[in-house]
């Protein structure tokens, strides 16, 4: 974005010029009020709900297996190119110590070379909990070279309700 020219005009303190500036600023203010407040910050969050995962199973508020077997789910991660991921936070329900829930933020090039950038697995078996990972490898996103996605693997033990997934928040900083 080019620098504003308004400061230089104000040095003259010309009243008609000031009126025009005021009108312009009022217009800018009016338009900016329509912009979501979170966009005024470089720090943003993308939240992927259970319904965003393929194949989506379970209710709208939780990802849950259709059988007592290992199931894998994927969701696309689409944020502004060149952003930097700062952390991920996953939300779980688990009531069986043998059941497992795993979640990775993945990066792949177009020749299927895949790495895990962050991992936040279910880690308790006493109900609802959340898990964060702030140690992100290759945190700077480059959509020219890679694709990004979330991989969730649910492995129940005795019942499909043993382990459930309520979503993942990806925190990132926009490059400006």
């Amino acid at each position: 974005m080019a620098k504003f020219w308004i400061p230089y005009r104000t040095s003259r303190f010309d009243r008609s010029g000031l009126s025009r500036i005021n009108a312009s600023l009022s217009s800018i203010e009016h338009q900016l009020r329509a912009v979501p407040q979170e966009l005024f910050s470089a720090d943003r969050t993308l939240f992927i709900p259970p319904a965003g995962f393929a194949p989506a199973v379970g209710s709208g508020f939780a990802l849950e297996n259709d059988a007592v077997a290992v199931r894998t789910y994927y969701a696309n991660v689409d944020v502004l190119n060149k952003s930097t991921v700062t952390s991920i936070k996953t939300y779980w329900y688990r009531d069986d110590a043998v059941a497992t829930g795993a979640c990775d933020l993945k990066r792949s090039d177009f020749q299927e070379n895949e790495i895990a950038m962050a991992t936040a697995n279910s880690n308790v078996s006493t109900g609802f909990h959340n898990v964060s990972d702030t140690s992100i490898s290759n945190a700077s996103l480059d959509y020219d070279l890679y694709m990004y996605y979330i991989k969730v693997v649910l492995t129940p033990n005795a019942a499909t309700t043993d382990v459930r997934f309520q979503g993942v928040a990806i925190n990132y900083t926009v490059q400006v």
Binding site: M1, K3, F4, I6, P7, T10, S11, F13, L18, I21, N22, L25, S26, I28, E29, L32, V35, Q37, L39, F40, S41, A42, A54, Y74, A75, N76, D78, L80, K106, S108, F110, Q111, E112, E114, Y143, M147, Y149, K151, V174, Q175, V176
Partner: protein, 200 residues
Amino acid sequence: MSNFAIKHYLTGKNSHNAVKFNRTLDELETALRYTTAEFLDNTTDKMIAPLEFTRSQISALTVTTGGNYITVAGSVPGPGNRAMTAVAKLTPPNGSIFTKLTGYNYFSDITAGVSSALTLTLHRADTNENEDTLATLNGTLVHNTYTTDIQTSISNATVDNTIYTYYLKLVFLFSNPTPGPKAVDTVKLLGARVDYQLRP
């Protein structure tokens, strides 16, 4: 951001107010940089991940979508053909101009006598189901090779969201000219990219 107070500063004529005025303008500029980061460069692109393609027609072939590919498995009758079609929606800003379509694929020729094809097409359609093909990209299939294909010839390239919807169509097609069913080759789409230029 709190309310702008710039207009109040402008009523004064002393240097103190001028300093505050400049500082507020700096804050305003910073806010605009955050809100308009996507548009600082008027050329941009949209990566369509394999996950964004949804099967649009029933097919006897089994579709597998990993995090970084979409592929099919099964057999093709002989003599005969078998296809699987998937689509991914596009939401380019109104008035922008499509400039390039890119496809990434992998191919492994595992069955003698079966010919394979992968086609990506960019489409628009109105609400009367009138569909136009804006660009066609035939995947280059080389045994055990990852390939990138590019198409820059795009018709009706200017986006008009008031009339049309836009989408990508992916077709896997297998042909078997000899008698007896045969397993399909391994063909994977690893993603597609649509480049477009924003309206100034």
